[in-house]
């Protein structure tokens, strides 16, 4: 990054911090004039503590269900405080949460200053709406409960939207007009958000109707739920990192495949993103890439490292790694869809090649498998293997293009070539070889002709750069 760009960012940060902090202070000051501080004070303290707790400890779960319990706390507090002190009370709660422990540890000033304004503005915008609705519908009874619940849901939606736009605004003004999507799935989290608000409003009404005795019960249900979600998230993280770490460790035992799966996962992710995959689909693709060569760990090194052409038996053994993957990992429930992709990464676009047990000869592999095939072959060509030196990126591209339509999906190949070129990253031999030279090197020490993609027999491309990935 250029120095003047950094200076510009610094100036933008200072400007933003001052604007947001003073906007927050002005709103808070104005509210102190128009509204009363909630009674009793311990109630406010209780809600403030829970709000800060949830702001600081958001459980990161992939499926957005427990996205933001802090919004629920805001709505519960707003209803419990009553319309006359809801806005001031919730804004004061929000103001307390300006520092995160991380900020304090790192002595950051920009984040807390902006947070202060952002939280207050968000809370004020949403709770004002809620307070107005609550004041208008002052009839009592069960109809009032419905109004409270739905108004809180609406307010939560506003909270989410305002927060989203403010974050977007901040990121844009600091980092310029680069693509900034802090909540890339805004629409998909609106529903859980509204649900949280709805429930929050009901819980606030519960406090008004039943009294303080309801608070410990609500707290217990939420705290245990939160704990369960946390331990679930931890366990999930443990599981994923175990699998990834294990594969890495096993792979590291072999000099030639070291880092292979990680690079393949990286390329596959790149292609997936360029083809418009969403988070879940990318996750699946990444896992398929990480496990695609697990079976190879069970193939004797003598076969993998062999410099000369493989005998039929050895070739058979080599291809068995596709089945090893299935044998090993099909028992793992959550990996089942990924195993199907991984076991088809040697299947060809035209239906030839080596299919796993779920695919048949002549069947077109899934898009995931086609992406994985391109990523795998590219990395195989651009890294040094026992049977040849690494090839250049240009050569690898031309090989991919040459076999596009037969071995590879032409669309995937073009997407990959264009994103990798656009990224400016370079892989493989730095030496730009001519096509003939590269071929000569590729065939050197392997003594097998290249093409042979015509044959539907599974020894197609045996030993070629594109086939032995």
């Amino acid at each position: 990054m250029f120095p003047n760009e950094l200076a510009r960012q610094q100036r933008a940060k200072v400007r933003l911090a001052i604007t947001f902090a003073s906007a927050g202070a002005v709103v808070l000051g104005a509210l102190a004039v128009f509204q009363e501080f909630p009674e009793p004070p311990w109630l406010w303290g209780l809600f403030a503590v829970s709000f800060v707790f949830f702001e600081w400890n958001t459980v990161e779960v992939n499926d957005k269900l427990f996205a933001s319990p802090s919004i629920m706390v805001v709505m519960t507090a707003a209803v419990a405080f009553g319309p006359m002190s809801a806005v001031l009370g919730t804004c004061a709660m929000a103001a307390v949460a300006l520092f995160t422990p991380e900020d304090i540890r790192q002595r950051r000033w920009f984040q807390p200053a902006v947070n202060f304004g952002q939280l207050i503005l968000t809370a004020a915008a949403s709770v004002v709406v809620l307070a107005l609705i609550l004041r208008a519908g002052s009839s009592s009874g069960e109809a009032n409960l419905a109004v409270t619940a739905f108004a809180s849901g609406l307010a939560a939606m506003i909270y989410g939207a305002v927060n989203y736009w403010l974050v977007l605004f901040i990121v844009r003004s600091v980092y310029g007009h680069r693509e900034a999507r802090p909540w890339s799935h805004m629409t998909s989290i609106l529903l859980p958000l509204t649900g949280m608000g709805f429930l929050g409003g009901l819980l606030g009404a519960t406090y008004l109707l039943v009294g303080a005795a309801s608070l410990p019960l609500i707290a217990i249900v939420f705290f245990t739920g939160y704990m369960a979600f946390e331990s679930y998230a931890k366990l999930r993280e443990a599981q994923l990192s175990t699998l990834a770490g294990f594969i890495k460790a096993l792979e590291a035992k072999d000099l030639y495949t070291r880092g292979h799966t990680e690079r393949v996962a990286y390329f596959a992710n790149m292609i997936g993103q360029a083809m418009g995959y969403n988070g879940t689909q990318l996750e699946k693709l990444r896992w398929a890439a990480l496990i695609h060569d697990v079976g190879k760990l069970a193939v004797p090194r003598t076969v993998i490292r062999k410099k000369a052409r493989l005998t039929d038996d050895e070739y058979e053994e080599m291809q068995a790694h596709v089945h090893h993957v299935e044998d090993l990992l099909s028992e793992v429930d959550f990996l089942r869809p990924m195993v199907e992709v991984a076991s088809n990464h040697h299947a060809h676009f035209d239906g030839n090649g080596y299919h796993g047990s779920t695919g048949e000869l002549g069947e077109i592999p899934s898009l995931d498998a086609r992406i994985l095939a391109v990523a795998d072959s590219f990395d195989a060509m651009t890294s040094t293997r026992s049977y040849r030196v690494a090839l250049s990126q240009g050569y690898a591209f031309s090989e991919l293009r040459k076999h596009a339509g037969t071995q590879f999906d032409p669309n995937v190949v073009e997407v990959f070539v264009s994103v990798l070129t656009a990224s400016g990253e370079r892989y493989g031999s730095p030496e730009e070889l001519t096509d003939d030279e590269a071929r000569r090197r590729a065939e050197h020490g392997i003594g097998h002709s290249h093409a042979a993609t015509e044959s539907p027999h599974m020894d197609t491309n045996r030993g070629s750069g594109a086939g032995r990935g």
Binding site: E142, L209, V221, S231, R301, E331, D333
Partner: protein, 412 residues
């Protein structure tokens, strides 16, 4: 034997509950000042509600299934005015559950032990709740809501303790599981029990003032937790599957005997449970036992095979591989220690070797004796006994013998 005793015991409890329901019915319906129609409606409604809700199982962290009925019983305890009606409804619902549960394919299977611990815990709760509510009435709490919360807390404590005690008692019936192990296992489920108690109480308090909205107030927050319990359970299952799968890589590669890791893990877990290790330790031991031979994958390197290797090398290589997974450092440690003998030259016994590692060593050696050397159960055990107090921990060897006796593999 033990199963029959449990069955008889659960029949006795079910019969006693039926009698209680009838007795409460007679007392309640004949007592002066009781609106009989209201009484019958109360009992009928709550019997159905508790019975139906009890059919829903909550997967607890320990792996056992708790009944959602806890919440319904708590709600009933607050909402049903008449003590006899409450008692009759709970007793009748428990009897229905004992008759129906597990009969249909869509239900999760539950054992007599599950029924016993749930039923006795519900009885403990009801008794304590009624007693506490009575005391509170005499103490004249200013806020009746706080009174209810207090009574639920007292009853809930009873529920939790009785359930854990009964679970441990059921374990005493089986000689292959230590009561201590089961007691600790049941204590692990406190979050689920507390969450259900609070959700039930929330419903009980809000129903009179909020009507059907009370359902949302009580059920929605609990639903988040329930979802998390479910997810936790299924992730735990797939975590186990993942480790099982990875542990088999050397076996698929032909570098370790097929099925050895699975059999060793199964036996090691049984021994650990018999010895009463902490459930968390048993969990780690299972993973370590599954992966104790994973270092053998290194043997597919021809140079290493040529240079030769020892058991210590296998253990060390395995530990190195496992250490790459950030959450398995404990397991890695256990795998590294598993080759170490009970008594090293020059010392009486080695206090640094974790019990789990000693168990894995014994289980692995037993399986090796059975499968690789083709020995009978008694011969394989004799082989362990011969190395006892030198190579193998005598305590573990004794525990292994008890497990094998329980399984009927050896006569004594």
């Amino acid at each position: 034997m033990a199963e029959t005793r449990l069955r008889i015991l659960s029949y006795i409890v079910a019969a006693a509950l039926s009698l209680t329901a009838v007795a409460f019915g007679l007392v309640g319906l004949t007592a002066a000042g009781v609106d009989q129609t209201l009484w019958i409606v109360d009992v009928a409604v709550w019997t159905v509600v508790i019975a139906v809700v009890s059919m829903i199982a909550v997967p607890a962290p320990s792996g056992s299934l708790l009944s959602l009925g806890i919440g319904a019983v708590v709600a009933a305890s607050i909402l049903v005015e008449d003590i006899t009606a409450f008692g009759a409804a709970v007793a009748a619902a428990l009897v229905i559950v004992s008759l129906v549960e597990g009969r249909f394919s869509f239900m999760r299977p539950r054992t007599d032990g599950d029924f016993l611990s749930d039923a006795l815990a519900a009885i403990a709760y009801s008794t304590l709740f009624v007693y506490a509510a009575d005391t509170i009435e005499r103490l004249a709490f200013t806020d009746p809501y706080w009174g209810s919360v207090f009574a639920v807390a007292v009853g809930g404590l009873g529920w939790f303790v009785v359930r854990a005690l009964v679970s441990a008692f059921v374990g005493v019936e089986r000689t292959d599981l230590a009561g201590r192990y089961l007691w600790l296992l049941a204590l692990e489920d406190w979050a689920v029990v507390v969450s259900l108690l609070a959700a039930g109480a929330l419903f009980g308090l809000t129903w009179p003032v909020m009507g059907l909205w009370a359902l949302a107030v009580a059920v929605l927050p609990y639903a988040f937790g329930h979802l998390a319990f479910e997810r936790y359970h299924s992730t735990k299952v797939t975590y186990g599957q993942t480790i099982r799968a990875l542990a088999q890589i050397p076996e698929v590669a032909g570098l370790a005997p097929r099925g050895h890791s699975t059999r060793t893990a199964e036996l090691a877990v049984a021994v650990a449970q018999e010895m009463g290790l902490h459930p968390n330790d048993v969990n780690e031991l299972e993973y370590a036992a599954l992966m104790h031979d994973v270092g053998r994958i290194t043997l597919n390197e021809p140079a290493i095979l040529k240079a030769g290797y020892t058991d210590e090398d296998i253990a060390r290589w395995g530990a190195q591989i496992i250490a790459e997974a950030p959450y398995l450092s404990q397991v890695s440690e256990l795998v590294e220690q598993q080759h170490r003998p009970y008594r090293s030259p020059g010392i009486e016994f080695d206090p640094d070797v974790p019990m789990a590692s000693k168990i894995i060593k014994v289980a692995s050696a037993y399986d090796q004796g059975r499968v690789e050397l083709g020995l009978s159960a008694i011969e394989a055990l004799e082989r362990i006994h011969q190395g006892s107090a030198y190579e193998y921990d005598p305590q573990v060897a004794a525990s292994l013998r008890r497990v094998l006796v329980f399984r009927g593999e050896i006569p004594y």
